[in-house]
């Protein structure tokens, strides 16, 4: 029974990691660029939300909306400042390093908004559920349901709509998509908006489950998102979901098997192995192969 419980705990935690990884993967998949300021834009969003919420007095739903809006705005700020000015002029390195600088800036802003280091983040206060010996935290069930609803909505948007077709075309070859009439600049902005939306939702879910927000949340979410993305396959959206869930499972199992202090070293060890065996991540390889196949057959 413990084994089943651990799997459930892992999957519930992993659903939030999946959203974080999707935020990274969207930006990388569509723009071939890594946004290192992603985690800190989520932190500053959360900090703004908990700072504003008592002033506005909107309750939990208000806090949710505030968090999401603030995370989206922070994401767009990063795009305008680091990515838009370098579009088409420099490679992927310049915006990545610029986003590192913005990471520092946003973390600094957050610590001014949250001077007490740990700040209370109101939880959802949903009663737990019991199935025989299995114990399910109410807020984690909500987290899981919301995460997968968001993933389903994203899937629909990317694979079933005209907008999604264009996003995937831009991901495949931005210059050709531009030739076919795609407004690539606006699409990039929309990508950041989507990433901010997913990040804002996961930020609220994670922080309300923890009941607190600390200045370390930015670094933490950058790590979790990047690791989940690398496990699943860089730039692959299904890979991000798989990577997030796997990361949750790995953490849950290593905590119960070896104790919480070995959790991170086990995670990094497994990431290390995956990078040796499948350098592209679990789903990344197929994309690479298809590209190579096309090259070979020309």
């Amino acid at each position: 029974m413990d084994f089943v419980q651990t799997n459930i705990d892992g999957l519930l935690a992993g659903s939030a990691y999946a959203l974080l990884a999707l935020g990274f993967s969207l930006v990388f998949g569509i723009m071939r660029q890594i946004n290192l300021a992603y985690g800190s834009s989520l932190l500053v969003g959360a900090a703004l939300a908990v700072w504003l919420e008592p002033i506005l007095g909107l309750g939990v739903v208000g806090l949710f909306l505030l968090t999401v809006v603030a995370c989206v705005l922070a994401g767009l700020y990063v795009e305008r400042l680091c990515f838009a000015p370098n579009r088409g002029k420099t490679g992927a390195t310049v915006p990545m390093i610029a986003s590192f600088a913005i990471w520092m800036q946003l973390d600094e802003v957050s610590s001014h908004l949250l001077p007490s280091r740990t700040h209370n983040f109101p939880g959802l206060e949903i009663p737990p559920m019991f199935f025989g010996d299995l114990y399910l935290r109410g807020d984690q069930i909500v987290q899981f349901v919301v995460a997968f609803t968001s993933i389903a909505a994203l899937y629909y948007l990317i694979y079933k709509t005209r907008f999604g077709l264009l996003l995937r075309a831009t991901a495949g070859n931005a210059e050709t998509a531009f030739l076919l009439g795609a407004p690539t600049g606006r699409l990039r902005l929309m990508t950041f908006l989507l990433a901010g939306l997913l990040g804002g939702i996961s930020t609220f879910l994670i922080l309300s489950a923890d009941g607190q927000v600390t200045p370390l949340f930015g670094l933490w979410s950058t790590f979790k998102g990047l690791i989940a993305m690398m496990i699943g396959g860089v730039g692959s959206l299904p890979g991000a979901v798989i990577g997030g869930l796997l990361l949750g499972l790995i953490e849950a199992h290593s905590s119960t098997q070896f104790g919480a202090e070995y959790r991170d070293i086990t995670t990094f060890g497994i990431l290390f192995l995956i990078l040796i065996i499948r350098p592209g991540g679990i789903m990344g390889v197929s994309a690479y192969q298809t590209g190579r196949l096309a090259q070979e057959r020309i």
Binding site: R162, L165, L166, R168, A169, A171, G172, N173, E175, T176, A177, F178, L179, L180, G181, A182, P183, A287, T290, G291, L293, A294, R297, I298
Partner: protein
Amino acid sequence: MLSINNLETSYGLIKALKGVSLDAAEGEVTCILGPNGAGKTTLMFTLSGIIEPDAGSIDFFGTSLTGLAAPKVLREGLALVPENRLVFPLMSVRENLLAGAYTRNRSDKDEVEADIEKMFARFPVLKERQEQNAGTLSGGEQQMLALARALMSRPKMLLLDEPSVGLAPVIVNEVFAIIKQLKEDGLSIVLVEQNVVKALEVADHFYLLDQGRVTFAGTPGEMENDDVIKRAYLGGG
């Protein structure tokens, strides 16, 4: 028709086009020849709005395209099939075609579907592979897809950048058969080619581009009798 006057384009300090003037008439195939580095692809990129020219003008059926970005150029009816096809490898053949129709109105949905069926009739191999990812197609099939994708926007004129590059001779024949068909259907085409023998089969007018300048302009007959071209491109002399 397309009328280019004194077009200059540069990459940083390097001037790739040093005042190119040429005309492409309606319903004709205009062929641009030239060695590697002559500026042929730069010319295609400038015409289609990927690169902005430094000077000169581009006039297309009475509208100025000078300095317009690619999406606007396409909406005016000038479509480029880039060199090396550049299909979207992880999207299906059908999705590639749909992406080609992006500039058309949403309300045209039925007509776009009808056009996809027309493409399938013209390129039967694409119908067979419509659900396959474009990256799994052979080079020749990808060239057909790139052509069909450009046609989905219903252009008035098609710019073809080296459609035969890297293809087997049999496939090159197929590509040129399609170009001939398109010409018979009344489409105006600007063809960039290094394969002069094949180009002679379809082109009405030739321009030779060398180091960013037009060094020869004339009909196929005039070209075949030009000593320099005979020696450089057709062998013998």
